[in-house]
Amino acid sequence: MNAIVPRETLITLSNAGVSRGGRTLVSGVDLTIARGEIVTLIGPNGSGKSTTAKLATGVLKPTTGTVTRQPGLRIGYVPQKLSIDWTLPLTVERLMTLTGRHAPADIDAALEAVGAARLRKAAVQELSGGEFQRVLFARAMIRKPDLLVLDEPVQGVDFSGEVALYELVRQIRDTTRSGILMISHDLHVVMAETDTVICLNGHVCCRGTPSAVKRSPEYLKLFGERAAHTLAIYEHHHDHEHHDDGCVVAEGHAHGHTHEHEGTQSWALSFWRGQIPPPERR
């Protein structure tokens, strides 16, 4: 579906860093996110993932280096966790227009896309964890963001849910051509379609495709030998080639190219939408 699309850089961080009160939170980060590209930040707690994401979104200003954002860049944000107090009456419908106005038809379409259309009138406090997460996705997507920031999107989601969620992220990337920035401290699954994994620990330890990072000595040093075995790369099998800008991809794409899994995407999405029960563990 993707013809050759010229690479359109949304955000560039060059040698960016933040110090506060004499303490360096993160330093020397080089990073670009282009349209249609998925970048994943991994690293232990306190390694500067959030700070780097905040530099990218413009919430924080760099104290060293530079951050360049495409003018008028629209950001959609899916927070790590969000608890809404009972005292605040909020329906799903109202949550959709939290940070901007949207037409009712757009709200319907966004909820429909994540299979949450029937929840439109529900109070957010009554949603299950999975339903709420889908609604938060829809809320971020309705903004038609140039850049979608996902903060720990699979936290507390079981394996099947994770697979389905990554399918959705991939679909979003393919259909909207948003750039996607994911933050994860949970290393056990990294989406294979991630174009670049950036491993942080106050600075950039290593970077590359998921499979390259998995084998890099810096990664092993930071997370230990055991982590290499638990870093499972979720591979999506698909039948078409994506853009290949060759920016940092040293190892070639990690995903296979088979034709046998055409049903994967619809199964996963249906599962994530809660329309079919989870399958047996494969």
Binding site: G58, Y77, P79, T91, A122
Partner: protein, 272 residues
């Protein structure tokens, strides 16, 4: 219509309730009840200072309440004592300093009870002008800043990532609260102001499905409490400010018995 003191009290009280209801929703949502109390208690210090400096009392109260809010933000950033403890210190020390200063004022006689519990029956036409002028300004700002205020109430992090400014929203909210306290002090007194912010809003929660609806319902309920409280105080010859608060409480208690909590926001059953 401003002829007798009772109509003036009704008009002033309704005006205040219409502003306090919507603003009170934010106090409830953001768990700022104690914070509101602290700002209100500092109002007495504002009264004392404005007499000493012979300045406008409403402005003096506003300035002190805003300063206390600012001091709290600064102290919170130091992060040595918990917010709870800081509020306790500020709340009672500003009240105490205010009381001590008032005691030093030998040249003016001050109706201390009037400041502590309000004297809504003594409002002048000028007070009404201040209440409605200030009230319209407060509501206008609240409406203009509604979306960012609400978004940063739900999640400051999310609001910030999507280009809003939660710190500014917080500041706006504090200034609005200081303003309401300044105009409310004469009516219900420093000790009862927060009740007009919180009780109608808390009552409105069970009757509302959206934040906007809750704000409107809180305004209406507050106005009903004012009217009911004032008529009650005339009938039974009770103190007017406390009577209004008692009326608000009665409405709250009645609302608890009404089984409406699940009327709104009920989820659509599966399969539709």
């Amino acid at each position: 219509m401003f002829g007798d003191y009772f109509s003036r009290a009704l008009i002033a009280g309704i005006g205040l309730a219409l502003v306090a209801g919507p603003l009170g929703c934010f106090v409830v949502w953001r768990r700022m009840a104690y914070f509101g109390d602290t700002m209100a208690h500092s109002a007495l210090l504002g009264v004392a200072l404005s007499i000493i400096l012979s300045m406008n009392m409403t402005l003096g109260v506003f300035a002190v309440a805003a300063l206390v809010a600012g001091a709290l933000i600064v102290l919170q950033k130091q992060a040595t004592l918990s917010t709870d403890a800081l509020l306790g210190i500020l709340s009672h020390s500003t009240l105490a300093v205010g009381l001590v200063l008032v005691g030093f004022l030998t040249t003016v006689r001050i109706d201390l009870m009037g400041f502590l519990f309000g004297d809504i029956l003594a409002v002048s036409v000028e007070d009404i002008v201040i209440i409605y002028g200030g009230g319209v300004a407060i509501l206008a700002i609240l409406i203009l800043a509604w979306r960012p205020l609400l978004a940063s109430t739900v999640s400051p992090e999310l609001a910030e990532a999507e280009g809003l400014r939660p710190e500014t929203s917080r500041l706006v909210l504090m200034i609005l609260m200081a303003s309401v306290i300044a105009i409310a002090m004469k009516l219900v007194g420093v000790l009862l102001i927060t009740s007009l912010l919180i009780i109608p809003a808390a009552t409105a929660r069970r009757l509302s499905a959206t934040p906007e609806m809750m704000a409107a319902v809180a305004a209406v309920l507050g106005a009903i409490a004012v009217v009911g409280g004032l008529f009650g105080s005339r009938t039974w010859d009770t103190a007017s400010g406390p009577s209004i608060v008692v009326m608000a409480l009665v409405i709250f208690l009645v609302s608890l018995t009404v089984p409406v909590s699940r009327l709104f926001g009920r989820r659509v059953p599966h399969g539709t």
